[in-house]
């Protein structure tokens, strides 16, 4: 390992590594650049220039029009995503706590079965979920969609928290029990304060999953309660009139911004939380 003070020698292999990394970064950035450039172009500009050309006039028209079309759906997505993320993370934390620190007879089997949930494709749960929502009277409602996302996300959040908590020594819980703390007091005062990294992982993961979801959104929500992903699809796929690529691109950027924001704000915890579980677990 090099100490931070001494600089690594500039060798050919190092240059090669950096070159490859740079190319990879550029490749990944190209779509974003194209989207951003196009979103600020006028329709004439788009039809005359090429994809990567700089806009001749920087125009916000596309953004204004896109926001006017999708803003209602943007708030729908917030109303779906925020509660679903919070509820699934909270229940996952509690599940993980029980499955790692308060093992009961059959808890390993229970955990194993729960893990199956991680491998279930969305499509397989569509019919049962739709049936259940119908019975509960939640069909085509935002609450119904939240419920589906919470249930589907639980397998992941439980897995995250359980794997994080098994690396916490049992002695902590024993010490707290001798100090007189009960099940929830230990969870609230000892375990939760230690959980910041894994909570962040869970929030990012769940936020990305639920915000980007299209299938559940298109199946379980209708009309004005649809999430932004569905609205974006409807916008882009309209067959009437000329294609307004600047509006499409601006709308796609609006749909993608919240996840980008979450990664920027909480991203450093993401890697930290994942490795913490991986190394010790």
């Amino acid at each position: 390992m090099h100490s931070p003070a001494e600089k690594p020698a500039l060798s050919i292999s190092r240059i090669a590594i950096h070159a490859v990394l740079l190319i990879a970064v550029l490749l990944y950035l190209v779509p974003l650049v194209v989207m951003l450039l196009t979103s600020f172009k006028t329709p004439e500009d788009i039809s005359s220039g090429n994809l990567l050309s700089w806009p001749t006039v920087v125009s916000g028209v596309g953004w204004v029009k896109a926001w006017g079309t999708v803003n209602g759906y943007f708030w729908n997505s917030i109303m779906i995503t925020v509660p679903a993320v919070l509820i699934s993370t909270a229940i996952g934390a509690l599940n993980g706590y029980v499955l790692s620190m308060w093992r009961f007879r059959g808890s390993q089997l229970f955990f194993g079965l729960l893990l199956f949930g991680c491998f279930l494709p969305f499509q397989t749960v569509l019919l049962p979920a739709s049936f259940t929502l119908g019975k509960l009277g939640l069909a085509s409602t935002t609450s119904g969609l939240v419920l589906v996302h919470v249930v589907y996300g639980l397998a992941f959040t439980t897995l995250f928290f359980r794997n994080f908590y098994v690396s916490i020594p049992d002695a902590l819980v024993k010490a707290a029990r001798l100090d007189g703390a009960g099940f929830f007091t230990i969870f609230r005062c000892i375990i939760l304060p230690m959980s910041t990294p894994i909570i962040m992982v869970c929030l990012i993961w769940q936020f990305t999953q639920i915000w980007n979801d299209f299938l559940f959104g298109v199946v379980f929500a209708s009309g004005d309660s649809q999430p932004i992903t569905v609205a974006l699809n409807n916008l882009v796929n309209t067959s009437t009139g000329a294609k307004e690529y600047n509006v499409d691109m601006a709308a796609a950027m609006i749909a993608g911004l919240p996840t980008l924001l979450v990664y920027v704000v909480a991203g450093k915890y993401f890697v930290r939380g994942l490795t913490a579980g991986a190394v010790k677990g």
């Binding site: 902590l172 024993k174 010490a175 001798l178 007189g180 009960g182 230690m194």
Partner: protein
């Protein structure tokens, strides 16, 4: 302040599985310091968890102050425990760690502050109160863990190998400190260790455990001088007791153990016994410090001449290894004894301090040497 009694305590993790604890029976008086000692996997930590209430016993009863607490949850037993890993709450400061148990017990804040101040002063951790556990050294963490236990003023303290994560020097310091602390506070204490020196130095009573069974329960002196079996004898004492296989011979109603160093032979008179022991193989136990230099001519002790094979000067002692009956035997001699590998030494033993063990079972064989002359021709072998 409390007495602790274990009545036939049993613990098993499921029918068909071997018992983790088997008929554990012991009791200690108010203020006594009990050591549970044994190799890893002997059940000593399980027993401690059972006393704490962290694990349920499957048979018998645990009594604190003559009250059966077997069915009680840990918080109702009024017990405090110090863990090997210290188990300090990592997100709380030292002060919060010590306060936690008191807050849960709804002690008024003024009383809590007073208690934290008392404990911090006692353990000299006043300057650490606002730090987080990760910012403390191992020794400091250990003190905080003790502080957390002391603050509650429980009936019984449980210590689960509290010193084993410390380096050698600190361990010796903390050992003395724990003893001082116990002399001052006089709280009933149960202390688990695999370190026989801690067992000997700290305990009022020692219970040596193996395979979930208490091998012997007594004072450190009893354990050291009068071990119940070969396991206890080998576990306590450093360097460990020598075990020499010997053949017995009987002469005029007295038993003799035959020793052979390769260059000399010696007959160790053991006492009186019946003819049935004649020719039998047993194990002779001699502690290294009970082998002395000397020809035995002045004091009449039996002696033997043997070649030195290895010497290990430890500083205060010189450990010399010789071979008797094809077994490596350690002798603990004064450091100024001049000897080197290849020399021959005259060694002598006191037959009265030699212990005898059954070769097959390892059980102690007791021989009535004191009354040998009176009870001549009577069998005095008894299996303990």
């Amino acid at each position: 302040m409390a007495t602790l009694e274990l009545r036939n305590v049993n613990k098993t993790y499921g029918s068909g599985l071997p018992d983790t604890l088997k008929d554990i029976q012991l009791s200690i008086k108010d203020g006594e310091f009990l050591i549970l000692v044994g190799p890893s996997g002997c059940g000593k930590s399980t027993l401690m968890n059972c006393i704490a209430g962290l694990e349920q016993i499957t048979g018998g009863a645990i009594l604190i102050d003559e009250q059966d607490v077997s069915g009680m949850s840990p918080k109702d037993r009024d017990i405090a425990m110090v863990f090997q890993s210290y188990a300090l709450y990592p997100t709380m400061s030292v002060r919060e760690n010590i306060e936690f148990g008191l807050k849960i017990r709804k002690m008024p804040q003024a009383a809590i502050d007073e208690e934290v101040a008392r404990v911090a002063k006692l353990l000299q951790i006043e300057h650490l109160l606002s730090r987080k556990p990760a910012q403390l050294s191992g020794g400091q963490q250990q003190r905080v863990a003790m502080g957390r236990a002391l603050a509650r003023r429980p009936k019984i303290y449980l210590f689960d190998e509290p010193l084993s994560n410390l380096d050698a020097k600190l361990r010796v310091e903390m050992r003395t400190e724990m003893k001082l602390m116990h002399q001052r506070l006089k709280t009933t204490t149960v202390y688990v260790t695999h370190d026989q020196i801690e067992a000997m130095t700290l305990g009022d009573k020692v219970a040596v455990m193996k395979d979930g069974i208490i091998q012997q329960f007594g004072t450190p002196q009893q354990i050291y001088n009068d071990p119940a079996n070969q396991f206890v004898a080998s576990f306590i004492g450093s360097p460990p007791m020598n075990f020499i296989p010997v053949r017995l011979a009987r002469q005029d109603g007295r038993l003799l153990a035959l020793l052979d160093s390769g260059q000399a032979r010696c007959e160790l008179p053991l006492g009186v016994a019946g003819a049935e022991l004649d020719g039998r193989e047993i194990i002779l136990g001699i502690r290294p410090e009970q082998i002395a230099l000397g020809t035995g001519e002045g004091n009449g002790l039996p002696g033997i001449r043997a070649d030195v094979q290895v010497t290990e000067p430890t500083g205060p002692d010189l450990l010399v290894f010789v071979t008797l009956n094809q077994t490596k035997v350690c002798c603990r001699l004064a450091p100024d004894v001049a000897c080197k590998v290849g020399d021959s030494l005259n060694l002598q033993f006191d037959p009265a301090r030699v212990l005898l063990f059954d070769a097959a079972s390892g059980e102690r064989l007791s021989l009535d040497t004191a009354n040998a002359s009176v009870k001549d021709n009577v069998t005095h072998f008894k299996s303990r």
